[in-house]
Every structure is written in C-alpha cells, then in structure tokens.
C-alpha cells in the first residue's frame, strides 16, 4: 500500500472515532507513535531487540500483550484481522484477543489467512504463504534467545552488542554430545541477517524456514519483557546449526491430518480417550478448513467420536 493511501485510510475521521468510550484501537495516539517509532527502528535493525515502554493492557502480562500493542499501534479501520493461537482461530485466547480488538477498532475479522491484512499469532506461522501486503505479528513470551545460557539482561545485551555468541554455540555443541542431536523443540534460535541471534518466539521448528527471505513483514512483541523486534521482508533468517549436525524440522513420519488429509502441515497429536490411539490433526485450523472445503465436504474424513 502506498503511504498516501495509508494516510487517507487511517488519518480520516473514522480512525479518530472513539470506540466504546476508548480511543480507536484503545491505546492513545502518543503511545501509538512511540510504538511505531520503535517498530521502524526494529525493522531497520533486523533481529535487534528494541526496548519500549510497554503499557498495561486489559489482558494479563504474558498473555500476548506485546503482540497486542503492536497490532493496536498499526491497525487501521480498513484492515482485516485474523488472530490465531496454536494455529487455531477458535482457541480461547485467540477469541478473547479478537473480542477485544474488534470492540475497540470495529475492523473486519477473518479466519482466512489470505484475506487478512494483519495476523496476530501465538506459537505458529500460518501454513499458507503470506504476501508483501500482509503483516504477521507474533506474541513473544521470552524475547531473549540467549536467556538459556545467561540469566542477566545486562550481560545478554553486552553479548549481542559484541556479537559474542560463543556460549550459545557451545550450548548447542554440548547438546549434540549429550543427545545425539540438537534437542531444542520450539523457540529454535536463529541468526538474522548474519548479525543478531534472535528468538523466533515459541514457533515450532516447522515454521522457522518460513521466516527466511519471506515477502511478509514479521513483527515480534514481548509486552512483559518490553521488547519489540522484527524480521523485514527478504531478510536472511538461518537456524543455528553445525555443518555436520543440521537443523531439522519436526518429523511426522508421513502422517496426515485425520480431518482434511493434508500431508503438508504441522500436526497436533491427539490422544483418543476411547481407543487410546494417537490421532493427528492440522494445527492451522484455517488451512484445515480451506483444505477440507476444496476436497469437498463429503469426501472429508470427518472425525467423529466413534471413529477409531
């Protein structure tokens, strides 16, 4: 979108309208400006954690207040919003977020990844490829990937400044020695633009390659820890790995989604308490719905309680 279009869309009367007694998008305009400046700084220094004065939101700290503040600072009345938690549009926390953002902005809300202009997410990147016209906002619990090896913020900031990442590499090496390979599940540390080591938020390793040379702007917000960082489009994002101990995504052993039959999506493992079997379903519910629709509902392997 051109800047002039954006200004037309966002600076008009509609944006200034109070929603339910609160400013449009809840936070005041001064705070929005601060957040936007910090976002610009984050975009200019990919992977660098920019401190910001995180405001208290009416949802609890640690429940996505960083992502929420990012969303509220850049959302305009013409945006279409999607919110997911664990890939799912209907998850209670996602529903709660949508309820709040909808209340204070009145924007259109969708479950279709391709329709959304803004997507706020916790723990997943949607399966469908996102474009340059979209922004993905990730909620971050612990923005510091070096926290695993160093507890002090003062010290980790020094390590980043000096590019002193030897302890992180040593940690990975020791992990390989002990476990046979790198045993980090989600929150896999990545190197951004060959400079900063970054915590990609607790997305599964499955989603890490989606960050690399993407068309979409990725924004990361940690409200409790008061940090914003970004991966701009067309930026190198490489998981830390050794030549002879490669990074690997989760292996589903060729399993397919029980519901839509997809073989190309991250799966949730479900224990069936009737049969005791393990069942697998797409974690991305919007993708699963769409896939199912395309296959034709009658062909869909709909899961029912009696299904064993």
């Amino acid at each position: 979108m051109r800047l002039s279009e954006w200004i037309d869309a966002n600076d008009g009367e509609a944006a200034a309208t109070k929603r339910n007694g609160y400013n449009f998008a809840f936070i005041d305009e001064g705070t929005k400006r601060e957040l936007r400046r910090k976002i610009l700084k984050a975009v200019a220094i990919p992977g660098y954690q920019v401190p910001f004065a995180s405001r208290e939101m009416p949802i609890a700290r640690g429940w996505g207040t960083g992502g929420l503040q990012l969303t509220l600072s850049i959302i305009g009345p013409n945006d279409t919003l999607k919110v997911i938690d664990q890939g799912c549009d209907g998850s209670v926390n996602a529903v709660n977020m949508k309820k709040f953002i909808g209340k204070v902005t009145g924007v259109r809300i969708t479950t279709d990844t391709t329709e959304a202009t803004l997507i706020q997410t916790r723990h997943r990147i949607p399966e469908e490829k996102m474009t340059e016209n979209q922004v993905l906002i990730l909620q971050v619990p612990i923005p510091e990937s070096l926290r695993t090896v160093e507890a002090s913020e003062r010290e980790t900031r020094r390590m980043h400044a000096e590019g002193d990442y030897s302890r992180m590499w040593l940690y990975l090496y020791e992990d390989i020695v002990n476990s046979g390979e790198i045993s980090i599940g989600a929150r896999y540390p990545v190197s951004v633009n060959g400079r900063y080591i970054m915590d990609p938020s607790p997305i599964p390793r499955w989603d890490v390659p989606k960050l690399h040379m993407a068309e979409t702007l990725y924004l990361f917000g940690a409200g409790r820890e008061k940090r914003i960082y970004a991966v701009p489009p067309h930026t190198r994002v490489e998981p830390l790995e050794y030549e002879d101990a490669a990074f690997r995504v989760e292996d589903f052993n060729g399993r397919t989604c029980r519901r839509c039959g997809s073989t190309a999506s991250y799966l949730d493992e479900i224990m069936d308490d009737v049969s005791g079997n393990r069942l697998y379903f797409c974690s991305d519910s919007g993708f699963c719905d769409k896939n199912l629709e395309q296959r034709g509902a009658q062909d869909g392997l709909r899961y029912t309680q009696s299904n064993t």
Binding site: I27, E56, A60, Q86, S152, G180, E181, G185
Partner: protein
C-alpha cells in the same frame, strides 16, 4: 471426546464469565458495596492502590469487589485503567517532613524530637480471633466512639511537621550521602514511559519497588535480613501519614495543592565501610501508597541492599530484584502457563522421541 473443539471458544469464555459473576453472589449473604470495602478493608485497598500504582480508593475498592478479593487481580485492573489515562501534570517533589502524621516510630532512638507516636497499629495486638465481632457491630461502633476520647483532657495538637530522625545523624556527618546519579540532568526516570535498563537509576529502582508486590518484596528483603545478604538494618524511622500533592499552577506557576495521599515511609540505617575505609551509616529508603509497613520496610532494606558494591546474593543484585518484584508481570506470566502449549509440546515430543531413538541406536551423533 479426545479432539479439542476448535470452535466454541467464544461461548465457553462467555459462560465462564457468567459463572464467575454468579460465584461471588451465590452465598446468600448481603452483597458488598464498594464503600464498605474502601472504609473497612482499607489496608487491602491501600495495598491494591500501591501495587496498581494508582491512588484511587474508590476504584481500588471496586476492583477488589469485582475480583472477589484477589489483590493481584484487583491491582491489575487498576493498573490497566491507569494505562488509559492521559498524564496531565507531574507533581512537585514533596518532602515528607511536611507529612500529616498518623503514626511515627523510631527503633534507633528511644526519644525522638516530636516523640514516638504509635497511632493505629496492630503491632501490639494479641492475634486472638475476636468472637465479639460476630455480635451487633453498630452498637460496638457507638460504644467505641463514645469512649474514645473519654477522660482525655488537654489533647496536644500535633505539630504540622516533624523533624526527620535521620537528619540528626546527617548533621553529625555519620551518614554517607549517596552520590547523585545523573547529576548532569535532574530528569527523573519514568518506568511507565521508558524501558528500564541495568544498572538502573535509583529513581527507577524506587519506582519499581513502590509498585512492587508486597509478598515479593518481603521475600527478597527477608532473605537478605536472614543471612543471604549483609544488611543489618535499624529502622531509623517509620511514618504513616498524609502528604500534600502539589503541582505547578498552570497559570501562575506557583505550587498548588491538588489533594493529599496517605503513604508509609521507612528509612533504615545500616552500617557500612565507605570507599575511604571509614565506617559510616548508609540509608535505605522505602515509600509506598497507603499504610503498608511490611512493604515500606522491605523496600528500604532492598534499596540499601541493591547498592552493595559487589552483589553476593539475589537481594543485592539490582537486576534480579527489579526484574522480579512486579506482581502484575509475575502473576501474568505465571498464569500464562494455563494457555495451550500444544504446538511447543508437540515440538518437544518430536525431539525427545528422536533423542530416545538415537540413544537406542547407540549413536552419539545423528548427523547423516
């Protein structure tokens, strides 16, 4: 049914909120009014205002009612409300020597200028449950009011200001004056507008603790007093009372009193060796909204502890203390573990199964 419903979240939330509302009201007893909480549970109100960092007794009482008495939740509501308010002015620094005293004690000196004033305190109460409170309380109230000033003649009017106890030590040159940080600019750090970095300015440290969680501050301060630290505090002075809040008048620029707030202030004295090798007293300072003596004393002990040259324990480590004392943040993060973590758990499962496989194969290295 094993499959987690992917629809229906909105309805579930709505029902949960309905149940929550009902839970508070279902008991059959008379429903509380916010005014009752404000007047009769005033210590809880004070605590919630402090941790919520908003001096608003009526709102705090309402938040306590709405949260069914959970101080963390109530403080959180107050904090969230505060975040939506525009800042219209900053108050002028206020000396606490002008405090309208309710209570004032010193453990350092037997006799202090102005005298020790015990005030309303439970310190010397016997912690026996008073079953008489079950009887008609309005009669009791009348009796207390009637007898409160009985036989009291020639009541001395309290002076408008009391000299600070530590000033006496200062005058003798026994107190090490803390170096003014940021002497270049007198700008105070504002933790609500800036993200704290470490080492933090003292003003940032005191602000963080002033809205810290009482229990959290107590735990860290206690660890220090008990032995994981080296502060042997003497309570120089503890005050509870009202101080005026003044702003510059927008037109005349003159100080203008807009109201008063109740605060608790604690100053602890601790002996230490200064850089030049001579022993001096150093001060730790604590101040919080309302009457919350445990918090003010804990804060003062930690303020002093955090200025240790070489932190040897958690309570002396400024970053450790300030990063962990905020109740809103810590309870939020603690409770976020209730959110679904299916995706990350699945990812961990994948790793663990793979590692197990590697061990079974007896390989120390899984690279192909």
């Amino acid at each position: 049914m094993g499959y987690v419903a992917i629809k229906g979240g909105a309805e579930a939330i709505e029902n949960a909120l309905q149940m929550l509302r009902y839970e508070r009201m279902k008991g059959g007893s008379k429903l509380l009014e916010a005014g009752q909480i404000r007047d009769q549970l005033y210590l809880l109100v004070d605590r919630v205002m402090g941790e919520g960092s908003l001096y608003a007794p009526n709102l705090a009482a309402l938040a306590i009612m709405q949260s069914a008495g959970d101080p963390l939740e109530a403080a959180f509501m107050l904090r969230a409300f505060r975040a939506t308010k525009t800042r219209i002015a900053s108050s002028i620094p206020q000396s606490t020597s002008e405090m309208r005293i309710v209570r004032r004690i010193s453990a350092a000196f037997k006799d202090i200028p102005g005298g020790q004033i015990l005030g309303p305190s439970s310190d010397y109460s016997l912690r026996l449950i008073d079953f008489e409170l079950l009887d008609n309380q309005s009669e009791e109230k009348e009796r207390i009011i009637k007898t409160l000033f009985e036989g009291v003649s020639n009541v001395d009017v309290l002076p408008a200001s009391f000299p600070k106890v530590v000033e006496r030590l200062r005058a003798e040159g026994l107190v090490e004056e803390s170096q003014r940080e940021n002497s270049a600019s007198d700008e105070m750090f504002d933790i609500t507008r800036q993200s704290m970095t470490f080492p933090a300015q003292r003003s940032a440290a005191l602000q963080s603790m002033a809205r810290g969680e009482t229990g959290g501050l107590l735990l860290l301060a206690y660890s220090n007093m008990r032995g994981y630290g080296d502060i042997h505090p003497t309570l120089g002075e503890l005050r509870v009372g009202f101080i005026p809040v003044k702003i510059s008048h927008p037109h005349t620029g003159q100080p203008y009193v807009i109201g008063e707030i109740k605060v608790t202030e604690a100053e602890v004295i601790s002996k230490s060796i200064t850089r030049d090798g001579s022993p001096k007293f150093t001060l730790g300072y604590g101040l919080c909204f309302g009457q919350n003596e445990t918090k003010a004393i804990s804060m003062a002990v930690l303020d002093r502890a955090m200025r240790s040259e070489e932190p040897a324990s958690a309570s002396e480590d400024q970053e450790f203390v300030l990063s962990h004392v905020d109740g809103i943040e810590s309870m939020g993060f603690c409770n976020h573990w209730k959110l679904p973590h299916y995706v990350t758990f699945q990812s961990d499962l994948d790793r663990l199964r793979q590692v197990k496989k590697n061990h079974e194969k007896g390989t120390s290295h899984a690279a192909e």
